[in-house]
Amino acid sequence: MGALTELDLSALWVSLRLATMTVIVLLIVGTPLAWWLAHTRSRFRPIVEAAVALPIVLPPTVMGFYILVALGPYGPLGRIAHLSLAFTFTGLVIASVFYSMPFVIQPLQNAFEAVGKAPLEAAWSLRASKLDAFLTVISPIALRGYISAIVLGFAHTLGEFGVVLMVGGSIPGQTRVLSTTIFEHVEVMEYGQAHTISAFMLTFSFLVLLAVYTANRRFPIHVS
């Protein structure tokens, strides 16, 4: 294994920032969306569900391409921002939010479906407003869903490659993340450093998943 350079460490930092930002945005956007998906009787539900799940099956280059166009100076998002978001960190966060969306939405949706409306109605009958009931009753009961969503969203964002390369390029300190760094190292035959980062990511991902599965087993939430 090769020692990590300053560039590698900055890529690690960018990766962690990107994953954290992405998960935060997805929790804020994803909670109401997942709640809606779990409880709506709207006929638009399957359409939204399919759209949310798209990143699972789509080649990252396809998503990356469209996001790149949208973020560019003549794309809709670029026009709103009055500048090109392509090849910037903000652009990368936007792309990651779309790319990692199913990994946050689906665990939340499953958790909300499992919780059902019964505890919510009980909380209302005890004078809790909608937000109060959600924060003090629904989210604690759906805690496992939240842990899964956070961990999967975080780990999946760390691991993305194709979309990052298309939308972010690989600008050191800004948009170069761990996964693209590995690619760069391999291109110039620095297998030692590529190995170090790969081994780190492999171990990290495994430990994260292990932690989730163990926590789920050890701290089951009893729902009567």
Binding site: A118, P119, E121, A122, A123, W124, S125, L126, R127, A128, S129, K130, D132, A133, T136, V137, P140, I141, L143, I221, H222, V223, S224
Partner: protein, 363 residues
């Protein structure tokens, strides 16, 4: 007197509810009917959990829902205590935190019901620090009732709170519900399809069928009414009387009850003089005597009665509706009916062989 006035018309894919309700908001009203008759849906409408485009609900002077004005208070803004069929306790809190959840969400000035009082009435003092999943079904339901009471509700909605419990637990909880109604003076709407529960709890019965109200009345009027009597199954209850303890005769093991100037004997009760006691009389335990009653008889309970109505129930038997200050039904044979020449308006004496108390009703 305060009244609860409501009307709802709700359509569902397989079911339709069409209700106009106007009852005193002070006693225990039981919503009774077979499953699928709309009892739970009606209760959910009263709570604001089901919306109907022309729904209206008024409790006393407060209008909680008036869709013509676009008004529908959400449940959390209504002073309602709701106990669901399942306890619906919050699994991430212990018993104490569940009890305090609603208590902490009302103003201190609105707290009319104390924690100590609820814990005592429901007998859950030893459970306070327990986790929810360590409780039995009956204990969970008691905590759920306590949790609802601690919001000091002005109206208590109970949706078959005993349905998921075995008979022993039911027997344990029924007196609690009667007691908390009496002691805390909260009007109760109680959904049930069990006749036993009605006999013990109800002051008033709302009879539901296929999403509409087919009859409303005081319990005893409904039970003895020729029109509604058969809806209460084959229990053959002749009447339910709310009597008072007149005096005790411990030397004979008897308690003497007073009901509208007439007297009934039951086995010795530990109740104090003047206390209200509900008694049940089976229609087959009532026989009729015409004319004088000074011939010796072993029967202790003899009431003066007037025949109101006679209905032949099959080839051999007939129900005679009597007025003893309240309606009472006697089931006699058609042969006796003819032999005695009984007619409406006639004065008779009702000999009652057995009088059962509330607690003795459930076997």
């Amino acid at each position: 007197m305060n009244r609860l006035v409501a009307h709802f018309h709700v359509r569902y894919p397989t079911f339709q509810l069409s209700i106009a309700l106007d009852v005193p908001a002070s006693d225990i009203t039981v919503l009774f009917g077979p499953s699928g008759s709309g009892k739970t849906t009606l209760l959910r409408c009263l709570a604001g959990l089901e919306r109907s485009s022309d729904g209206f609900m008024q409790f006393g002077n407060d209008v909680w829902q008036d869709e013509t004005r676009g008004l529908c208070l959400p449940l959390y803004q209504r002073p309602i205590g709701y106990v669901f069929q399942e306890p619906r306790l919050f699994p991430h809190y212990n018993v104490r935190a569940n009890l305090l959840y609603g208590y902490n969400r009302i103003l201190a000035a609105e707290r009319r019901i104390a924690i100590k009082q609820v814990v005592e009435i429901l007998g859950i003092g030893h459970l306070l620090e327990r986790r929810i999943h360590k409780l039995s079904g009956g204990e969970q339901q008691r905590v759920a009732i306590g949790r609802a009471l601690l919001t000091s509700p002005q109206l208590l909605l109970l949706d078959e709170p005993l349905a998921s419990l075995d008979i022993q637990r039911k027997q344990e909880l029924l007196p609690f519900i009667r007691r908390l109604h009496k002691e805390l003076r909260i009007p109760v709407m109680y959904v049930s399809h069990a006749v036993n529960e009605i006999l013990q709890l109800a002051d008033r019965v709302v009879l539901l069928k296929e999403g509409t109200i087919v009859g409303i009345g005081a319990l005893n009027e409904m039970l003895t009414s020729p029109q509604f009597r058969r809806n209460f199954g084959s229990l053959r209850v002749g009447g339910v009387l709310d009597a008072r303890v007149a005096n005790q005769e411990p030397e004979y093991g008897l308690t003497r009850l007073e009901f509208k100037g007439q007297f009934l004997f039951v086995s010795l009760q530990s109740a104090s003089i003047g206390e209200a006691v509900r008694v049940h009389i089976m229609s087959s335990d009532v026989s009729l005597v015409v004319g004088r009653t000074d011939c010796p008889t072993s029967i202790l309970n003899i009431l003066e009665a007037t025949i109101l109505e006679i209905r032949e129930t099959d080839q051999s038997s007939a129900d005679v509706l009597l007025d003893i200050g309240a309606p009472l039904v006697a089931s006699i044979t058609r042969k006796s009916l003819v032999n005695l020449g009984l007619k409406p308006g006639q004065r008779v004496f009702a000999h009652i062989k057995a009088v059962a108390l509330n607690e003795e009703l459930m076997e």
